[in-house]
């Protein structure tokens, strides 16, 4: 909202070009920490993995109409909704999802500079691993909620705080553990304000998210399953995202511009911007 679509698109292009470069580095063996677990630490690239497969680095980030880049689809509405992998809401919520989606300009919390929350914020851009905790660092647009974000995942064997004792938050309470070489992050304690995606996918405070992260050489896969029996017919597994390690040992995250909302009152259609 605070930037132009072209700005977002160019940022995406840069990410993709870097991704291509990183991919060209070739596979590496999976490093391990002293306690024997895969070492997930590093700067990771390619957080956004559209379901549309294309080798065209521009294709995944620029929306066009009538097949020409000179005629951008104004709101990228068709493609971003065409993912057949949808959460299966209970019938009484179908109309609500549609209305939220159609009025996304005013209803989508991230349009108002609010955090994306888990799991919409996706996998981190950088991961710092210690024996007892992991720190996930994000930068927009990966975090989608505009602004840099972080998560701390405890891996010290503790149990969840009882749900009734948790204040519902955007990121919830995340507890991690290892299942073989896969890091499993169990998160509860959400507010019901965030969405799962841009298409009106709301959730309840009783949402339970399981994320699975697995490193194979210089490739990190992330997958999240959302269980929310209050609103969903069955758990929903989001599309797997694949990240590549930035092989540059000096790589760091760049600062994201602050989110300042000032466009919303000027919108005259329901098209997303």
């Amino acid at each position: 909202m605070k930037r132009t679509c072209l700005g977002c698109a160019l940022a995406g292009v840069v990410l993709c070009l870097i991704s291509v470069s990183a991919a060209a580095q070739g596979n590496q063996s999976t490093p391990r920490t002293a306690d024997g677990h895969p070492d997930l630490s590093g700067v990771w690239i390619g957080q956004r993995a559209p379901f549309v497969e294309s080798t065209d680095p521009l294709a995944q980030n620029l929306a066009s109409r009538d097949g020409t880049l000179l005629n951008f689809e104004r709101d990228n509405a068709m493609i971003r909704r065409s993912d057949p992998n949808k959460p299966m809401y209970k019938p009484e919520f179908w109309e609500k999802v549609q209305k939220l989606d159609q009025n996304g300009n005013t209803e989508d919390p991230s349009f108002g500079c609010k955090p994306a929350g888990v799991p919409r914020m996706g996998p981190p851009a950088q991961l710092v691993q210690t024996p007892k905790l992991m720190v996930f660092l994000y930068m927009s647009p990966a975090a989608e909620g505009w602004g840099d974000a972080y998560r701390v995942i405890m891996t010290d064997g503790r149990a969840h705080t009882p749900l009734d004792d948790l204040d519902g938050t955007w990121k919830g309470e995340s507890i991690g553990h290892w299942e073989g070489d896969t890091l499993v992050i169990d998160t509860i304690g959400f507010n019901d304000t965030s969405w799962l995606d841009i298409t009106g996918y709301f959730h309840s405070e009783n949402m339970h998210v399981i994320e699975r992260m697995h490193r194979d050489g210089d490739t990190l896969t992330w997958q999240a399953t959302v269980d929310d029996p209050d609103v969903l017919v069955k758990p929903w597994t989001m599309n797997t995202r694949t990240l590549k390690l930035n092989a540059d040992p000096k790589a760091t995250l760049t600062e994201t511009l602050p989110c300042v909302e000032h466009d919303l009152s000027h919108l005259v259609t329901k098209e997303h911007h």
């Binding site: 995944q60 929306a63 299966m88 209970k90 549609q98 259609t269 329901k270």
Partner: protein
């Protein structure tokens, strides 16, 4: 570097998007049609339409339920809402139909006492009807499995403008292009569960599908043409998408309209529509043709077990079978049951009560069995006409071993008798359901055989309002001075004359 690359992609994209000037191969024609419908999006040029909703008002028609044989299907006013997913594939048709102008003539549920909502769903290999959208996942709602309808519903999905182009793409090299009357025509075979069906899509001057034609098997009409015309394409989305959708849809089957809709809104913006399959639908056993034989009186058997019943009447040397309903499968099962019940006697007569397709669909099997058809006078020329149509898509018993049908036309009355048994057939007068329509009466056992004039409700059902057709049947019984004790409705269950009197408020 970035700018140079950007313009390079732009030039390539523009070149590929331009209409092909040379002779058009099928793939190019289909691609141009996809562009014309706004389906192709992004530099990756993918077909981005996966889900769709549209709303309309107009008319639906009860296929095969004409009042007179050979006349148009009876009309209902309708509000119509379709939601569909090409990815699953799945479709939900939510129709509320009514006949606000009062009773009209024909079958299919006419007359409607009040608006009637029908929700038909297909999702992959499952089909069901819903009491409300999403039924089966909320207490108090009902999802009724209808696995027999799966392929018909899938075909409707793939005959939509976007669907037909998606399937044309899927057909690959099997898709062919020709020109008819100056219009471009794409012809291709369907695959998967619809294998064997060929689609013919005619494009308008803007490369949009304007007529889609298929041939499928119908028990009565044989290789039946379904023709859907799409006209007056507009962007009907609430949020502008530049995806044109036809604002007028007309579908014909057997030469008469079954659907005539003015589309008021189309959400082509990949709306959230889902089709979860209820447990009871997923676990429903495959439909089986079942015939239950119930002896009503000496030499009279009521053949039930499905939605449509028959009655077998034993004579000294033969059997007369009243009604060969639905289709080959049902009729053959009924014939088999008759042979087991009355062995060593041929079915000499097959009495047909009326021409509605659900009562006529199995009659060809009875012709193939060697029975003489006994039916209403105006039905004879109609049956001779439709039975001469080709049945090549799914040949039935008569199609595999053609035999000329012997048809006896009944004007007002016909009596089958051999001294031991008598079956009287009368033309039912005053009915709005179908004309002509025969009822049967067995004076020896005082049993009345009728179809659709009295469809008794299930036991313990709350009494409903008086139905005019029930009253009319009773009036005919009185007019003909029939001493009826029992009634064998060809829908429902064995009843008595007292039950009919109660139904019409004459206790």
């Amino acid at each position: 570097m970035m700018i140079r690359r950007f313009f390079c992609y732009s030039l390539i994209a523009g070149a590929l998007a331009a209409p092909c000037a040379r002779a058009q191969d099928a793939a190019t024609v289909i691609k141009n049609a996809e562009y014309a419908l706004g389906m192709i999006r992004g530099p990756q040029r993918i077909d981005a339409i996966n889900t769709l909703e549209y709303w309309g008002t107009g008319s639906t028609y009860a296929f095969g339920q004409a009042y007179h044989p050979g006349s148009a299907w009876p009309e209902f006013k309708a509000t119509y809402h379709a939601s569909l997913s090409y990815a699953v594939p799945a479709m939900r048709i939510d129709v509320t139909r009514s006949n606000p102008d009062g009773p009209i003539q024909g079958g299919g549920g006419l007359p409607l006492a009040s608006p009637q909502r029908q929700i038909q769903v297909v999702s992959g290999k499952f089909g069901w009807n819903e009491s409300v959208p999403g039924a089966g996942f909320t207490a108090g709602t009902t999802a009724t499995p209808t696995s027999d309808a799966v392929n018909d519903r899938l075909l409707q999905l793939w005959m939509t403008p976007f669907g037909v182009l998606k399937m044309a793409v899927k057909a690959g090299a099997a898709a062919k292009v020709s020109t008819e009357g100056g219009a471009t025509v794409i012809t291709f075979p369907l695959s998967g569960p619809l294998e064997g069906i060929t689609v013919k899509a005619t494009l308008n001057a803007k490369n949009q599908p304007e007529r889609v034609e298929t041939r499928t098997n119908d028990p009565v009409l044989g290789d039946m043409v379904t023709e859907t015309t799409y006209s007056d394409y507009k962007d009907l989305s609430e949020i502008t998408t530049d995806v044109p959708f036809p604002s007028h849809i007309v579908q014909k089957q057997g030469g008469f309209p079954v659907l005539d809709l003015t589309i008021t809104k189309a959400d082509t913006n990949n709306p959230y529509v889902v089709f979860p399959v209820p447990d009871n639908v997923e676990k429903a056993p495959p439909p089986a043709v079942k015939v239950e034989t119930q002896k009503v009186s000496e030499g009279v058997w009521y053949l039930t077990g499905g939605t449509h019943h028959s009655v077998a009447v034993e004579f000294k040397d033969y059997v007369a079978l009243v009604e060969c309903p639905l289709n080959d499968a049902r009729a053959l099962a009924v014939i088999d049951a008759v042979k087991k019940t009355v062995p060593h006697k041929p079915i000499r007569y097959a009495v047909n009560t009326h021409h509605h397709f659900d009562h006529l669909g199995g009659l060809r099997a009875c012709v193939a069995e060697g029975a003489t058809v006994v039916t209403g006078a105006e039905e004879k020329p109609y049956y001779e006409k439709v039975w001469a149509m080709p049945h090549t898509i799914s040949p039935d018993r008569l199609g595999k071993a053609p035999k000329k049908a012997v048809i006896e036309a009944v004007a007002e009355k016909r009596v089958l008798t051999d001294g031991t048994q008598t079956l009287e057939l009368y033309r039912l007068q005053g009915t709005n359901h179908a004309d002509p329509m025969l009822i049967g009466y067995l004076p020896k056992s005082k049993v009345l055989i009728e179809a659709d004039a009295y469809n008794p409700a299930p036991p313990n059902a709350a009494p409903g309002p008086v139905v005019k057709e029930n009253v009319n049947l009773y009036d005919n019984i009185k007019r003909l001075n029939l001493d009826v004790q029992q009634i064998t409705p060809l829908h429902g269950r064995l009843m008595t004359i007292s039950d009919l009197r109660k139904a019409i408020g004459q206790n």
